[in-house]
Subunit: 255 residues, 2 copies
């Protein structure tokens, strides 16, 4: 069985890592759109166009299932991808919502993500439909912090305080990390938020796809990126824990 995973860049590698751990025999193809990263500050139309192009690239590898490992792309493009592609498509929003509703006792739930993810309102709607009180906040500096290798320390604590200060005066008992970069800041966020359950979509997604995925394959992994940006190798190694051969995806026709 072959599974395709795409993300706006390198953040989705945190999702890929969980999938690989849970289904070690699977064949995996990853595409990171590093030539156009980040998606989180772009418009709905552009995010949909980019997501379709990424999916079309992966479809050529005869994948049996597609995972949209990017919260921003999942927020805007999931329905269209489901309609356009002839295979099962999973995003990271629904699993995160399900998990949050499971672990929250008082149904006061927070969600943080990129500007576009929060602006889309997808998390907020799903949680409210399930009867939750929701607090949402865009945290645009979190991704650049992580990509700069800053995951703890004074600057991180100040930025966490800057964004999450308003959450402290609420009854929130659960916080969804609505961006695949954020798990790398989980400790700093947990320290700041104290007695709040942190939900990261990656493990929830693995549970969701487990009924569709047969752990059968040749354990292959191909990693494609649309741009060989500086520090790419070291970031991939930092997230996946070992060195891999990186391949550059041929030109996608875009904007």
């Amino acid at each position: 069985m072959k599974l395709g995973v795409f993300d706006s860049g390198v953040g989705g590698l945190t999702v890929l890592k969980e999938i690989k751990k849970a289904f070690p025999s699977l064949d995996l193809v990853y595409l990171g759109d590093t030539a156009r990263v980040p998606y989180g500050g772009k418009s709905k139309d552009t995010i949909i166009r980019y997501s379709l192009e990424c999916a079309e690239f992966l479809i050529r590898f005869d994948i049996d299932l597609l995972v949209v490992a990017c919260n921003t792309a999942s927020s805007y493009a999931l329905d269209i991808l489901k309609k356009e592609l002839g295979i099962p498509v999973f995003g990271v929003i629904k699993p995160g919502v399900r998990k949050a509703l499971e672990v929250s006792k008082n149904k006061v739930i927070g969600v943080i993500g990129t500007k576009s993810t929060i602006k889309s309102g997808v998390y907020q709607r799903s949680l409210m439909e399930a009867g939750s009180v929701v607090y949402a906040k865009a945290c645009p500096l979190f991704v650049p912090l992580v990509e700069e290798g800053l995951t703890h320390g004074d600057i991180v604590d100040k930025v966490v305080d800057f964004y999450l200060r308003d959450f402290k005066n609420t009854q929130m008992d659960t916080l969804i990390l609505g961006c695949t970069h954020y798990p790398l800041l989980a400790e700093a966020i947990k320290n700041y938020m104290g007695d709040v359950q942190i939900v990261d979509s990656a493990s929830a997604l693995v549970e969701d796809i487990s009924s569709f995925v047969k752990n059968e394959g040749t354990s292959s992994l191909r990693l494609f990126f649309t741009d060989h940006s500086p520090s790419l190798e070291s970031f991939v190694e930092y997230v996946l824990g070992e060195r891999y051969k990186l391949e550059i995806a041929p030109m996608l026709c875009s904007l």
Copy 2:
């Protein structure tokens, strides 16, 4: 006379503003590649490809002169643009270098910019060829800080200290802001660096083009962006000081 200006996004508006102030009768066309911003973490090949596409878009408006208002694009694509286009092309690197050499007394000069700009070594080479001692540092968090509206305060001061700490123990008397976003952080940087001259390319560029530019035209200004990203209007207004009509550039074929 019509002048084209392009940038990876909104940072180049700081350059546009200076040009507009110096030559109020000129006709101006600006293109911000907000669909693929930022360029600062991307590879040389990709930066060149994007720059050519932006230039080709502006050439269609019959511009007489092109300004590359992005340091990253100027670092990698200027020579190719000069070769490919039949009109004068100006970048922001050379003016910044000239100005720094003029104001520096001891020829110990610092330069800060994006990862790609610093990695290109263009500033360092030009300054060293002129006999300077050079200190260079990439500051990837500065752009997201500015785009988040954070230009002063505690977080900014911490990040400025994080990047510029090593500069404090040098004899540096001049620091080039090698990114069009950085002038918005000039005060925080000046406060931190103390008795160091801050050089921002925009005003130096205006001096450089003044012998080529005739201040004759209909004072028109068209602002194009490749994506209508969230907060675009407010950021444009923040930099230019008034509201303008924004136009979306038709699809560029890319990657």
